[in-house]
Symmetry: C2
Amino acid sequence: MPLTLEDIARIAGTSRSTVSRVINGDQNVSEATRTKVMDVISKVNFQPNLAARGLAAGHTGILGLVIPMGVSAIFADPFFPLLIQGVSGQCNSRDVSVMLWLAEPEFERRTINNVLYNGLIDGVIIASMLTDDSLVDALRNKSLPFVLVGRHPTDEHIHYVDSDNRSGAYQAVLHMVRMGRKRIACINGPANMIAGMDRARGYRDALKERGISLQPELVVEADFTDPGGYAAMKQLMQYRPDAVFAASDTMAIGAVRAIHELGLRVPEDIAVVGFDDIPMASRITPSLTTVRQPISRIGAIAADTLIDLIENPSDRPQHIILPTELVIRESCGAIHPVRS
Amino acid sequence: MPLTLEDIARIAGTSRSTVSRVINGDQNVSEATRTKVMDVISKVNFQPNLAARGLAAGHTGILGLVIPMGVSAIFADPFFPLLIQGVSGQCNSRDVSVMLWLAEPEFERRTINNVLYNGLIDGVIIASMLTDDSLVDALRNKSLPFVLVGRHPTDEHIHYVDSDNRSGAYQAVLHMVRMGRKRIACINGPANMIAGMDRARGYRDALKERGISLQPELVVEADFTDPGGYAAMKQLMQYRPDAVFAASDTMAIGAVRAIHELGLRVPEDIAVVGFDDIPMASRITPSLTTVRQPISRIGAIAADTLIDLIENPSDRPQHIILPTELVIRESCGAIHPVRS
DNA sequence: GCCGTTTTTGGGAGCGCTCTCACACTTATA
DNA sequence: TATAAGTGTGAGAGCGCTCCCAAAAACGGC
């Protein structure tokens, strides 16, 4: 049977209130009492009951992390694991616990209610990234603090953390233009994901800036998976691209496989640039030029932002965009000169 | 301000107790009262406060999932994501929430206390797989129900779910023997991980059964990562193996890269078999023969076992070993005949 | 030493729920 | 018709904590 505050108080020869003060770091406790109570606490390894604390205090020190599992394949991508890691790490050092919801579509309705109203969660991080997420809509009308991973396309009042997808894609495509590529294709993410939209925008901006007209047939939409990238590339081949920008490394790797299968070479025949810089990117042959985004840091900052927000609800909307970085390797033809 | 049971009772014209009965599915409520209360609940979208419920009932309907993050690289492997997915899915359908702890070493002490004593968690799934995990030791002396993912090497009273690592490795190695390989190397996992030990045992058993003497220099230990497999393979090459069994696909892929880099062919010169059947296994060239283990199912079954255990603490120790399956592809030379 | 302050402490109320118990009311049994 | 045995309901206590308030102790300045 676990001990209670009252038990500790009895052993330490003081009162429940004082023990509570010691645990919560209240200043108004004499040094003598504090050390005595601390001794008892560590001797019996006391841990206050969080349910009781949550009930009495009105907050629990737990934060929710909601990840959509619509495509279960999405977990094959290292994005979510890294995000979870970032969130969890930051929460650990801020003394906050993480509750994870992998929101499967059929449970979504229940998930929403659980997240919003059960009183266990002080706030929530939503890793949705859909342009029209019903969870986000539901949260907007509630008082529960929340932070989005991935910017919100319209509502300026929503806090979010994202990486600079547009600029990353822009740099990547610009680089290929500079390398002399003329027919640069784009394997885009799904249209209902904001990151996909932003990367497509960067692609278009780069072409436009260089006065290259956009060829609609050179842009195809895929689902961020390897097979998706593979299929998209096969489809693109008929239009004879000499370069391709894929909105994720996973798709880029699929695209490279498709290119090789048709007997063409990367980068000599077709240059390939991905997005994310997953570990695999540097290991495939040829190694993949890609746009690095700090996924784990996004998670950490989202957690930080949310915790600040919970402690200080009056904060102005936080819109944090982390920089991306073009990592040049072999697949874009910049390192090894073209052996045509 | 969220509503309480009392509010619902007032609106429905009944008492707090009756509303509580309706919510918890008590039989002794008249049909009329039940529907009336249900109507109110769904109309105002009432969600009972879980902290209060936890405090009053002594359990919360939350289960912990502890994952060691010692090696952060471990998350590059799809194992944990799939495990999380399995646990989470099963918990969703059993109406239980999941609290995730990525236990970083420096926080481990705190994690242990949080998990064991904070009163929020009804039970915990430990995905440790170390042969000597201090968390497991700590839990053994406590009354908190827990289930291990990965069998426990010594204590028969501990509940666990695991896949049949020994048999999987045994089948894999036996297969290579049958294909005529004479010098079969083994890239093993770390010695302090039980899965690594079991797979090494399967390797040894297969050799022994076929009367092949174990060559110690053909067995090296790596860390389940791709670079680890790559380095291990480089080291093995001096002993001229004609086949290699890697204890994970990730290591196998690293090994294949090492082999190719030295100008040798897979499977013609060296056959390779991995373990796990990650999605990448079927996509690399040559496609990887591997041992499939049902990771997501392990997670689901662990969750199920734990929930049963919480509801019925008197259960006898559950030791569930799920079967593994050899998936034959190109890298072992069984599909395409050896072009020597 | 006395009075006003400040620091430290203890007790009470109450967070929103569950669970036990007692009471009212119905139905079956003798 | 009286008694036993359900069925449905409400009130009360209490889960372990925080927070507020008032009392006690310690401190300072005259």
